[in-house]
């Protein structure tokens, strides 16, 4: 491959305030890029048993061989040790990040050490600067931080601005990193790791070019993929309503977690559906760099803030996940209330799913008397009744306002261990659960997935297949294992998972060929398996035990469209997963 700038790994040390570039052809040739390279760098850089907030916990950002070169190769993979789960931290974001990293001349960036005073990192091609961020620290909203950096940094329009909000500064264990205002490294607490290093933001821009090995062939494959993506409708749903299109179908099948999963149908779902949001609030759709689809939906909300026709207008991104976690989970059935809460959570830099699940638990705990006005500092959460309560609650969590909110900031499992109510503290593997109560495959996917996310293996779609025609558990697990491997391939390239319908393995092989990379579908799946194993090994090394995972009672009590789940069967399926994925030896000492 002649675009060898991909092999450049930029190592930045915030303690010593220095950096260097190393050529890591070895890693990129073997593991392509993205998740594959990141997990190897994590193995190398992250000392065993390290405190996630120690300077030694590395932040790794990686892109891949297709980044910038093909439509929808638009994502960056972040890896770190998660302060939320204590093991693998992995999170993906788009925006301008991936193309910016690649065109600045890097395949990966590793950040270690920590600064004593707030800093941000500015990367413009080979100029790397660690700059003072004292004035940005404590800023009320992550949006404001972006506005300041837009003014003072080069590369307008083509750069990425990653930053944390006050949640990250205060080490909320599920604080996120906001990218370009509307995208995120959302899950598992990358924002808190930034905060622990006193790293407020990273700005990256580049003007480098990437050359391919066979230009003619590249142009041809490019055109074919581009046409297929934009003209055949394989991806149109992501543009039309976006992921918010899931609200009504999931609600109709009884799989939309509502009021802390006491219910799976939300009587007000219509009000917060993709359709309603699109018809009444949607003002613009935008895209990540080099994505002709444009799934990012922006709503506009006009709010009167004082008498005398005083209005402010907010522009707020929405997706299925926050609609679930900050909408139905909290019983919030007004689009306006939901959008206001999303805006708050975004500004604070909190992961929407985690904070929503935490507040849903808090509501139930309050209603059951496990916590009182004293703990909540006078806030009286009562589902959708008063959105203002949740807006203030999110703020208190982000600021760790008292012992109770500080416990919530450590994750709902920590809070429930302290105040009771573990039975309805909805986590899988320590990570707050995504919004798909579709059946066993979804839950097993959350439990076994390396990042305990719906994006690991998409069990919800396997459940939906099972609804259409019966499927035995072995088959479900087999599909989970295979899907996870396939996704490891895509996230090493790095292709947006929404494009999985287009980038089948054969297509990936053809896309790589003009870049001088020869491979086969079989080889790619082998790589996917190897990455699966590497992630599991890291988890095991950091103490993760899949055999004794907590399964909250609520998951079992509330029926799914495929019936009630049984703990025993779920545990059987976890065992099957370990067996089929060939991970028995990884977890050998734990069984």
């Amino acid at each position: 491959m002649i675009n060898s700038s991909l092999y450049n790994v930029l190592y930045i040390d915030l303690t010593e305030r220095k950096y260097e570039v190393q050529e890591r052809r070895d890693l990129f040739e073997k593991y392509l890029g993205g998740a594959g390279v990141a997990v190897k760098l994590l193995e190398e850089e992250c000392p065993k048993g390290v405190d996630p907030f120690s300077p030694d916990n590395p932040i790794i950002l990686a892109v891949g061989p297709l980044t910038g070169l093909y439509p929808l190769a638009s994502k960056t993979v972040a890896m770190f040790k998660s302060p939320l789960t204590g093991n693998l931290g992995e999170s993906h974001a788009g925006g301008r990040s991936a193309v910016a990293i690649r065109l600045a001349g890097y395949g990966a960036i590793v950040i270690k050490g920590s600064s004593r005073t707030p800093v941000y990192i500015s990367i413009f091609n080979d100029q790397v600067r660690i700059k003072d961020a004292t004035t940005l620290w404590g800023m009320r909203s992550s949006y404001a931080v972006g506005r300041v950096l837009r003014e003072i940094e080069p590369g307008a329009g083509k750069r990425t601005i990653m930053r944390i909000g006050i949640a990250g500064e205060n080490l909320v264990r599920y604080a996120n990193v906001v990218v370009e205002s509307y995208r995120h490294f959302g899950r598992l607490g990358l924002g808190a790791v930034f905060g622990s290093k006193k790293l407020k933001a990273i700005v990256i821009a580049g003007t480098r070019g990437v050359k391919v090995y066979d230009l003619k062939a590249y142009m041809k494959v490019y055109e074919e993929i581009f046409r297929s993506i934009t003209e055949t409708g394989v991806m149109s749903k992501y543009h039309v309503l976006g992921t918010a299109e899931n609200v009504l179908p999931l609600n109709a099948m009884g799989a939309l977690p509502t009021r802390n999963l006491m219910q799976t149908r939300f009587e007000l779902a219509e009000n917060i559906s993709g359709e309603t949001l699109a018809e009444k609030y949607l003002v613009r759709k935008i895209a990540c760099t080099h994505c002709p689809i444009g799934c990012i939906h922006l709503a506009s909300l006009r709010i009167a803030f004082a008498p005398g026709y005083e209005y402010e207008t907010l522009v707020i991104p929405y997706d299925y996940e926050p609609i679930y976690s900050l909408g139905s989970m909290l019983g919030i059935g007004s689009a306006e209330g939901l959008l206001r809460l999303i805006e708050k959570v975004e500004g604070l830099g909190l992961d929407a799913i985690s904070v929503g699940v935490a507040m849903a638990w808090a509501t139930e705990a309050y209603q059951r008397g496990l916590v009182t006005d004293k703990e909540t500092m006078g806030l009286r959460p009562n589902w959708g009744e008063d959105v203002e309560v949740y807006i203030r609650m999110a703020e208190k969590i982000a600021r760790r306002a008292n012992e109770f909110y500080s416990a919530l900031a450590d994750g709902v499992e920590v809070a429930a261990s302290k105040y009771g109510g573990l039975d309805f503290a909805l986590t899988c593997g320590g990570n707050e659960v995504p919004g798909y109560h579709t059946g066993p495959a979804a839950i097993v996917g959350f439990l076994t997935g390396p990042r305990h996310s719906h994006l690991d293996s998409a069990g919800y779609s396997i459940d939906q297949k099972a609804l259409r025609g019966p499927m035995i558990e072995e088959e479900m697990v087999k599909q989970i294992v295979e899907e996870e491997k396939f996704r490891n391939v895509l996230t090493s390239l790095v292709i947006c998972l929404f494009a999985r319908g287009e980038y089948k393995l054969e297509k990936v092989v053809r896309a790589l060929e003009p870049l001088g990379i020869r491979t086969s579908p079989e080889e790619l799946m082998k790589l996917g398996a190897e990455i699966q194993r590497a992630k599991a090994s890291f988890k095991a090394r950091e103490g993760f035990n899949p055999y004794n995972m907590r399964i909250a009672k609520r998951f079992l009590e509330t029926p799914t469209p495929l019936g009630k789940l049984s703990e025993e069967r779920l545990r059987d399926m976890i065992r099957m997963y370990i067996e089929m994925a060939g991970l028995k030896s990884v977890y050998a000492t734990l069984d």
Partner: protein, 140 residues
């Protein structure tokens, strides 16, 4: 009939940069956001949308008039033709074009001038830009 790229519905632009990548791959044989005759810019924060800057193919081009060496000459019907051999890298054209459609190639230290090939328009998913005969807007 002379053709040019017209920006017809900027508010529909999703900021995907497909047009820029098209120009850079077709004209420069590489993947880059620095080498493209068409530029996507943010209109000041993504929420405000985007700006597309591309040569308007002026009928009496200021860039031509500013060029001291004759490297830029008018194209019949509007627009300009660039002869790199004559260019002395003075950057006058870059200054003269007030819409900033002359992109500066820092690597070569030469201007990047649109060739009115229309390739970029084939990759716009929302027909924000179209390749059309000049003066067509007068006909409707």
């Amino acid at each position: 009939m002379s053709y040019r790229v017209s920006v017809v519905s900027i508010e529909r632009c999703i900021g995907c940069y497909s047009c820029m990548f098209a120009c850079s791959r077709f004209r420069f044989g590489e993947v880059s956001l620095a080498k493209s005759a068409i530029q996507v810019k943010s209109a000041g924060g993504i929420e405000r949308g985007f700006v597309i800057v591309v040569c308007r193919a002026c009928v009496d081009p200021p860039c031509v008039k500013s060029c001291p060496t004759g490297a830029l000459t008018p194209r019949p019907g509007g627009g300009v033709i660039f002869n790199e051999a004559k260019c002395n890298s003075c950057k006058s054209c870059y200054e003269a074009c007030i819409v900033r459609a002359v992109v500066w190639d820092e690597e070569k230290d030469k201007p990047i001038i649109c060739r009115y090939c229309g390739f970029c328009t084939k990759f716009c998913p929302h027909n924000v830009i179209v390749f059309e005969p000049m003066g067509r807007e007068l006909l409707v």
